[in-house]
């Protein structure tokens, strides 16, 4: 007879561990199953962890969690081949513990720490084990079957936090095959550099970090972004593009990363750094439209598996943790009622949709598709803005009024109506 738990959580990333932690904290018997050698072994993100959602789970977590640097400056670069329009915000407030906003982290370290916190509360974590399918009886999920001999194990409820390509949710018919336009393939490198060099190059101090998001030429105009984040003694540099554009334009992701690393605006920042790690992962970018069925009898889908990522604002791990928290709340309610049916667990879906997760994903629900179908935003307008800025800031004896006129005409080169249409469309998907 297989052993029975209150909850089985599949996956030990931010969503799974958040849920496992809060279930165990409230006295439930939790089994967490991770396919990697340890939590974080297979997990990848650019590296920004937001404070709010984790602080709700573990107050003042940054005092003991393996964070790299609290971020005090966020820069955005609109890249042309040899220039950049830059925009950013730097604030001293973000350097103060009381008003930290986000941090850079390395997932291999962070996920292990977070999972250990859950284990301390009694979560049973099994690594190096793949869950192959949910056990279903009369339409209700009653447990899982792992790839190990005698691999069945039972639970009142199973939480699928098994990541972007959730085969388990697919087996249950909660979603179809993921479309290539709904995921980005991101490749990144960890580059070692001494802390003092990082501080000098990014104009920051110890205990302060900086993030740079790059659009435009960083993906050679394809739909995607590149990023450069500061860790304590290393940099994370990466680039991601939707799978559809990678296929359509025959891009090799590692070549794109090499291109970014050799970009004249980027290169001075990473010069002399030693390549320490190479990572790649799929990122859900389908947004609101890609959210699958979130609950069933005895089952909840959370985190990347539920496609809860805001690609425009590079938020994902926070949504994963919050969805894990909501899942735990729903499970505790179901435990109270003694019924783990879809009807009781549906409170999870409501919470996800009503919170910032659902609201934000709804706000940008058409953004990715619009950018995919209208490549001119990245391919034409960003270079145009760079040309305009260069023209405007170059002192060459032309009057400012003349310059403005020239720039206006430059933007209208595409045709007045098309340009106005483009602007209206951009406003509509971003509003």
């Amino acid at each position: 007879m297989p052993e029975k738990f209150d909850v089985i959580v599949v996956g030990a990333g931010p969503a799974g561990t958040s849920c496992a932690y809060q279930c165990a904290k409230n006295g439930l018997k939790v089994l967490q199953i991770e396919r990697g050698e340890y939590p974080g072994a297979k997990n990848v993100m650019g590296g920004v962890l937001y404070k709010q959602q984790l602080e709700e789970i573990i107050p003042e977590f940054w005092k003991e969690a393996p964070i790299e640097r609290p971020i005090v400056e966020q820069r955005m670069w609109l890249l042309d081949e040899e220039s950049a329009m830059t925009l950013g915000f730097k604030g001293r407030a973000w350097a103060n513990e009381a008003s930290y906003n986000n941090f850079t982290i390395l997932r291999a370290k962070f996920d292990q720490w977070f999972a250990r916190k859950a284990q301390e509360l009694g979560v049973t974590l099994i690594n190096e084990t793949v869950v192959e399918e949910c056990l279903v009886e009369n339409g209700k999920v009653i447990g899982v079957r792992t790839d190990r001999p005698e691999g069945e194990v039972l639970a009142d409820v199973v939480v699928l936090a098994d990541g972007v390509n959730s085969l388990l949710a697919k087996q249950l018919g909660f979603h179809q095959d993921i479309e290539p336009a709904q995921v980005a393939l991101t490749v990144m490198e960890v580059l070692k550099l001494p802390a003092e060099t990082i501080n000098e190059r990014f104009n920051i101090e110890d205990g302060q970090g900086c993030t740079i998001e790059m659009f435009g030429d960083s993906t050679k105009g394809h739909l995607g972004t590149a990023f450069l984040y500061t860790n304590k003694e290393s940099l994370n540099i990466g680039v991601g593009a939707t799978l559809s554009s990678i296929v359509k334009e025959k891009i090799k992701p590692y070549e794109l990363l090499e291109y970014v690393k050799n970009h004249p605006i980027v290169k001075p920042l990473i010069q002399g750094a030693e390549e320490a790690e190479y990572l790649a992962h799929l990122i859900p970018e389908g947004g609101y439209h890609a959210i699958p069925k979130l609950v069933g009898d005895g089952v909840i889908v959370a985190g990347d598996a539920a496609q809860l990522v805001n690609g425009i604002h590079r938020e994902g791990s926070n949504m994963a943790m919050k969805s894990g928290s909501y899942a735990a709340e729903a499970i505790l309610l179901a435990k109270q009622k003694g019924r783990f049916t879809e009807e009781v667990l549906a409170i999870y879906r409501e919470k996800v949709y009503e919170s910032f997760i659902g609201q934000d994903l709804k706000k940008y629900k058409d953004a990715t598709e619009t950018l995919e179908n209208h490549p001119q935003y990245l391919k034409e307008y960003i270079p145009m803005m760079n040309r305009a800025a260069r023209a405007f800031f170059t002192v060459d004896g032309t009057s400012k009024r003349e310059k403005q006129k020239g720039i206006f005409n430059m933007f209208m080169e595409r045709g007045k109506i098309r340009t106005v249409q483009d602007m209206y469309r951009a406003w509509k998907v971003m509003k």
Partner: protein, 271 residues
């Protein structure tokens, strides 16, 4: 049948580096693993238990974190684990280690007599292969090293295949005996899920020096270790050698010339 397997936690030598300046092991960030030969020994003991019944115990000496290798053994299928852990054991060479382990084995055998002791053929960090035979000598049982197969087990004797330099020896030994295990004896199986569950929360029996009986403290730890490491150095890097250049055809012609020149290196039958 009661088999006790001695297991050791070692640094994963695949990722270990030698600091060229100090000639010492650079252990920073190096993961600890169960000595691979010991894992095969546990697996073999579990096979025998499946066929003949009985019990598999594992015994390790080390700091508290060596519990990890006992948990790993439980995953493979061991029934119970003992860890002897005390500052008094620290700094032990093979002589002092075999003494401490022998004292623990004697204590285990008081409640549950031991039929066989298994050890890995050597640990990948020290490569000495001395602890197993050392234990056998102290227990006054036959030591049979480098075992690549166990071919027969009865309640009075075992038949074993012992790996030699250029062949195998078939050996019969009375019980109890101590054998040291070669990797080729088995494949480590993918552990059953119930074992994983048992291992994750398993706590071994931990004995300090005070738990062991009739112990001569002078024979333990650094004090009981006559071995002195005179010098450590990394082997010199191989020099470049001769590289053949040109098209594949040209390279083959050159290669044949080289082989002809050096044919004294080969034992060809010229008949």
């Amino acid at each position: 049948m009661h088999i006790v397997v001695c297991v050791k936690q070692v640094p994963d030598t695949k990722v270990i580096k030698i600091n060229p300046k100090t000639n010492t092991l650079d252990r920073r960030g190096v993961p600890s693993i169960i000595n691979p030969y010991d894992a095969h020994a546990v697996q073999e003991a579990v096979h025998l238990k499946r066929q003949h019944g009985g019990k598999v115990s594992v015994l390790s000496m080390g700091p508290p974190q060596a519990t990890a290798v006992i948990k790993k053994s439980i995953e493979i299928g061991a029934d119970e684990g003992y860890l002897i852990s005390d500052r008094a054991f620290a700094g032990a060479d093979t002589l002092a280690t075999s003494y401490a382990l022998t004292k623990a084995l004697e204590k285990i055998s008081k409640t549950s007599p031991i039929d066989m002791v298994f050890c890995g053929k050597h640990a990948i960090d020290g490569d000495t292969g001395q602890v197993g035979p050392g234990i056998a000598k102290r227990l006054d049982i036959p030591p049979i090293t480098n075992i690549s197969a166990i071919t027969k087990v009865t309640k009075d004797y075992v038949e074993l295949q012992r790996k030699l330099q250029d062949g195998y020896a078939h050996i019969r030994s009375t019980l109890p005996c101590l054998i040291t295990i070669e990797k080729e004896i088995n494949e480590i199986e993918y552990a059953p899920f119930p074992n994983m569950l048992k291992a994750v929360n398993y706590q071994p029996v931990v004995w300090s020096i005070d738990h062991l009986e009739d112990v001569d403290r002078k024979q333990l730890g650094l004090k009981g270790s006559p071995t002195v490491v005179g010098k450590m150095f990394a082997p010199p890097k191989q020099e470049g050698g001769h590289r053949l250049e040109g098209t594949p055809e040209e390279q083959v012609v050159q290669l044949v010339e080289v082989l002809k020149e050096k044919q004294y290196l080969f034992h060809f039958n010229k008949g």
